[in-house]
């Protein structure tokens, strides 16, 4: 098993209502120098989170004690830019298990699914409802139900369904990853490679 299984997650959420949050903001390039996958959460949103003298920026949401939880809610086009998986690692390492947005960049979405961080795409309208609900009450709980493929704002009962590829859903529910699958397909791969032009 590659990562923790994901089934139903009920948690408060951290709002980040900014569009085009690129992976350079999630984890700046200068923190990509590790050769092991650990500790990236400390530098999650480093330049939005800390001043240049390493004191926390009071107005950034991760430094505001009224917000917490395992769900990060971002604006449209979340995770654009660099392919660095470190961005997904940093979010996961910080303690988030799910990211909600109305639109994800492709590579970020793929990277997240590969490491057990569930990206949930909702409509713009629903995203707005989540932001408003958290604004009204930071203790608002959100339920992300992967088997049912639903996301619910528990206080208001507002609910929406989300899409996920059936294969990826199976993997997330069971904590499997693609490498487990590919190892089982090796004979086919070798036969294919024999015929390759290149």
């Amino acid at each position: 098993m590659a990562y923790d299984k994901f089934t139903v997650l009920t948690s408060t959420a951290v709002p980040l209502p900014i569009e085009n949050v690129d992976t350079d903001q999630i984890i700046p390039a200068r923190f990509l120098k590790a050769t092991e996958r650990k500790g990236f959460g400390d530098n999650l949103f480093r330049d939005w989170r800390y001043n240049s003298d390493d004191t926390p920026k009071k107005d950034f949401v991760l430094n505001n004690p009224i917000y917490s939880g395992k769900i990060l809610v971002g604006g449209k086009n979340f995770g654009s830019g660099s392919s660095r998986e470190h961005a997904a690692w940093a979010i996961y390492d910080y303690g988030f298990r799910c990211v909600v947005s109305s639109f994800f960049a492709d590579i970020f979405k793929g990277n997240s699914l590969n490491i057990g961080l569930l990206p949930v795409t909702v409509s713009e309208t629903f995203l707005d409802k989540i932001f408003k609900a958290i604004e009204a009450d930071p203790k608002t709980e959100i339920e992300v139900n992967l088997p049912e493929q639903t996301i619910t704002i528990l206080a208001t009962g507002d609910q929406e369904s989300f899409d996920i590829n059936g294969y990826k859903k199976h993997n997330m529910l069971n904590g499997f990853d693609d490498i487990d699958y590919l190892q089982s397909a090796k004979e086919d791969i070798k036969a294919f490679a024999e015929k390759s032009l290149y």
């Binding site: 050769t35 086009n77 660099s82 998986e85 059936g166 294919f192 032009l197």
Partner: protein, 472 residues
């Protein structure tokens, strides 16, 4: 039903090992490029699982993101950078993967050295743990960036698992105007469709503009595909492509060449093929471009003013945040803005044609006193060409120095960082907050614009410095 297929379909379908219902395809990967930043954790993963590298001869390693651009003969100062470079070397040695390490005469940026050595060939599937892998689409390849888990996947199985993306075609006909380079074409398209406008799609670029473009220009355009959200971009291989590949060190020779060429000539979109989305632009509408915001979609023609928040497609809050970071105002003209740094280089514009274009503008002029210019070739081969063609002499006479190859200030993982608050005109691919150093402010532009800025010290329309008959 028509059997007409697109270039993308032809290459993709030829690489499907297994299709999973309601799941991704198992896609065979012909070439895997790795570098020091996104590969160490993948190798660790292999070790933990006790799985070997399946086909080490299909993977090519080069050091680029962390490499210094001065004194490359000396030990790398930053211990973390040195550690990553050492990890790449030891992993390559352990698994028998070819490596162009720092100091190798073939070393350079991964997306520059692949094509210039003939590793990149038409019709291939190519992946790398770097989003600008889309560059190789210039050869009619399906090439895209992947995450570290996928690097591990490819090392262990030579395959990745991908759902087939949707298809978009962008057609641009007509003739490009004076002073308009492929980079301007890329920035223009991104500004028109936004930084997320092609998310979920693989893009084919078609029409006269791309047919008439050099291979290096095509690489620049395909390189920037990711900046409109596309997984990758591709251009059908043609005689220009074949001529470029022919004779390269790792290109097929003799009978193998003939066999490959016969196949490559079939790699084009059929006339009746259907795309999920089609866009058309007119070459005559494209002028030299420059960005003013903090994503590559926030750009405009160089003679224009910064648009009002109400005129842009990004949310107003994000737009205002972006202008605040840049310390720009809505409606402000860009021409005449004082600049501190000029960066020529990166996998977007670190090729020989980019240096030729830059030199054609600065020839006979002097570097502006307020400008610090970092001119960084994409590879040692480019560096040698710069010297052999007399470009270095032109640069030196104008007061510029040439640095050594690497990714450099594009993402500032080495020592080349633009200081906080300073303005840089960069030929690289990203103007994200802090991309070129914490607090750095980046304006993306072509090598012509970079050269015009380098000699005037302010944002300048390069057409004003181009004499008739100069390279257009």
């Amino acid at each position: 039903m028509s059997n007409a297929t697109t270039l993308f379909d032809k290459v993709w379908d030829a690489h499907v090992v297994r299709h999973i219902d309601d799941g991704p395809d198992v896609l065979f990967i012909d070439r895997h490029f790795i570098h020091e930043v996104t590969s160490p954790v993948a190798f660790l993963g292999l070790e933990k699982r006790g799985i070997p590298v399946l086909y080490p001869q299909r993977t090519f390693a080069t050091a680029d993101h962390n490499t210094p651009t001065m004194h490359q003969d000396q030990p790398v100062k930053d211990p973390l950078s040195a550690n990553q470079l050492a990890a790449l070397s030891s992993n390559a040695a352990k698994w028998g993967i070819s490596l162009w390490a720092l100091g190798s005469p073939k070393n350079g940026i991964v997306h520059v050295v692949g094509p210039e050595n003939g590793i990149t060939q038409p019709g291939m599937t190519i992946v790398c743990g770097d989003s600008h892998t889309s560059t190789h689409g210039a050869f009619g390849c399906i090439a895209f960036g992947i995450g570290t888990s996928e690097v591990e996947m490819v090392l262990s199985s030579q395959c990745i698992m991908q759902p087939k993306p949707k298809k978009m075609r962008i057609t641009i006909n007509g003739k490009l105007g004076k002073g308009v380079l492929p980079k301007d074409v890329a920035l223009y398209m991104i500004s028109r469709i936004t930084a997320s406008g092609a998310t979920g799609y693989f893009v084919e670029y078609a029409g006269e503009v791309f047919e008439n473009m050099s291979m290096e220009g095509r690489m620049t355009v395909c390189n920037m595909s990711i900046e409109m959200g596309a997984r990758g971009g591709m251009i059908a291989p043609d005689q220009t492509t074949f001529d470029y590949v022919n004779g390269k060190e790792k290109a097929p020779k003799g009978e193998a060449w003939d066999k490959a060429l016969a196949y490559w000539k079939t790699l084009k979109t059929d006339e009746d093929a259907v795309f999920d989305k089609e866009l058309h632009f007119d070459a005559a509408d494209i002028e030299p471009q420059i960005t003013y915001g903090t994503n590559p979609g926030l750009g405009t023609g160089i003679t224009h003013q910064i648009p009002k928040a109400s005129e842009v497609k990004d949310g107003e809050a994000s737009y205002k945040k972006s202008l605040a970071y840049m310390d720009f105002e809505e409606g402000q003209p860009l021409i005449g803005k004082k600049i501190d740094y000029v960066f020529l280089g990166s996998c977007t514009n670190g090729r020989i044609e980019d240096f030729r274009a830059f030199a054609s503008i600065v020839k006979g002029k002097k570097k502006a006193d307020n400008i610090t210019a970092w001119l960084v070739p994409g590879s040692h081969i480019v560096e040698e060409q710069i010297k052999a063609e007399g470009i270095l002499d032109i640069l030196n006479e104008a007061g510029f120095e040439l640095r050594q190859p690497g990714c450099s200030a594009c993402l500032a993982m080495n020592e080349d960082k633009i200081p906080a608050g300073k303005y840089a005109v960069s030929t690289s691919n990203r103007n994200f907050e802090g991309r070129q150093g914490p607090g750095a402010r980046t304006l993306l532009a072509s090598p012509y614009v970079a050269a015009a800025v380098a000699v005037t010290g302010v944002v300048t329309d390069p057409r004003e410095l181009m004499t008739e008959g100069a390279m257009a």
